[in-house]
Symmetry: C2
Subunit: 167 residues, 2 copies
Amino acid sequence: MPMFSTLEGKFMSHDRAATETWGERAEATLAAAGHKRGGARRAVVELLDDQECALTAVEIEDALREVGKGKGERRRVSRASIYRILDELEGLRLVQRVETGQAMVRYERVNEHDEHHHHLVCDDCGVVMPFSDKALESAIETLSERVPLKVSEHEIVLHGSCQDCAL
Amino acid sequence: MPMFSTLEGKFMSHDRAATETWGERAEATLAAAGHKRGGARRAVVELLDDQECALTAVEIEDALREVGKGKGERRRVSRASIYRILDELEGLRLVQRVETGQAMVRYERVNEHDEHHHHLVCDDCGVVMPFSDKALESAIETLSERVPLKVSEHEIVLHGSCQDCAL
DNA sequence: TTTGATGCAAAATGTTTGCAAAGCT
DNA sequence: AGCTTTGCAAACATTTTGCATCAAA
């Protein structure tokens, strides 16, 4: 699912910074934090690097089991390891949790320079898609300085019916 | 925890519409939906009517166990009933879920005329407080019409450190 | 060869469900 | 009486943990 941008009013394909992929930055950050390089974690990082939007732990597990698809190393990784790896990555601010009101939490990579994005959730079919909106971000920015909280993150989820389900 | 309003730049006490409390509307809506009036549900509705902000099922259970405090009927209500009641109320759009990234989902009443509010979450101590911001609401409103989703709800959570924890 | 990474199985947690008893109307 | 509501206990789903083994440095 490509990202919807209100600026352009259409779906945008993801432009990766030419200099360094998120996966490379993730590996570097993990190394700097004193982690050894394990195959399971590398597979998870490579998978997340390919994704446009947030996945659940189970979706990650299933995607990794489908060997040969996509680029990067695909190998079976246990559910427990996936949760442990996501937790580490979250601690290093390399991934962020996305709460969609569905049963399972979703996770997605955090890009350093990319514009921030948020999520549209179809409560009928469960599809989750990313969107970005400049006006919303500036409202949040202004607001963040007036509120009795030292704001470090924000999460916005719009719920409703997607175009297929709204018919 | 009173609500923080950026419009006023301070904490506002909650102004209840003089005409009808949320609890009254809830009872009426439940009756119209063909429900009988049970003691457990009445206790939960009365408790929610008193709250400024979102509670978890366990917090509701504990609050109801403390007899004699606050107004309204207080009686022990089983956890299962609390979840069932919250689920009914959510279906009738009388309460809404609030996902704070904490272990448990929170629930709070939805007021018809009151301004919409969102949540500040301190990731250190876990305190949750409501806030409202006009500019944010209009950004959301504008945005909602330009996005490929028939938007019915939105949820915004700011994470960070509260004034006590940021010291 | 020491320390972190991983898989498996079991546990913990939060929520939901089946069912019988109790409560409304 | 006939229906809903409730409590209890068991089931369920997701996530976390203990521990033995494996692999990286």
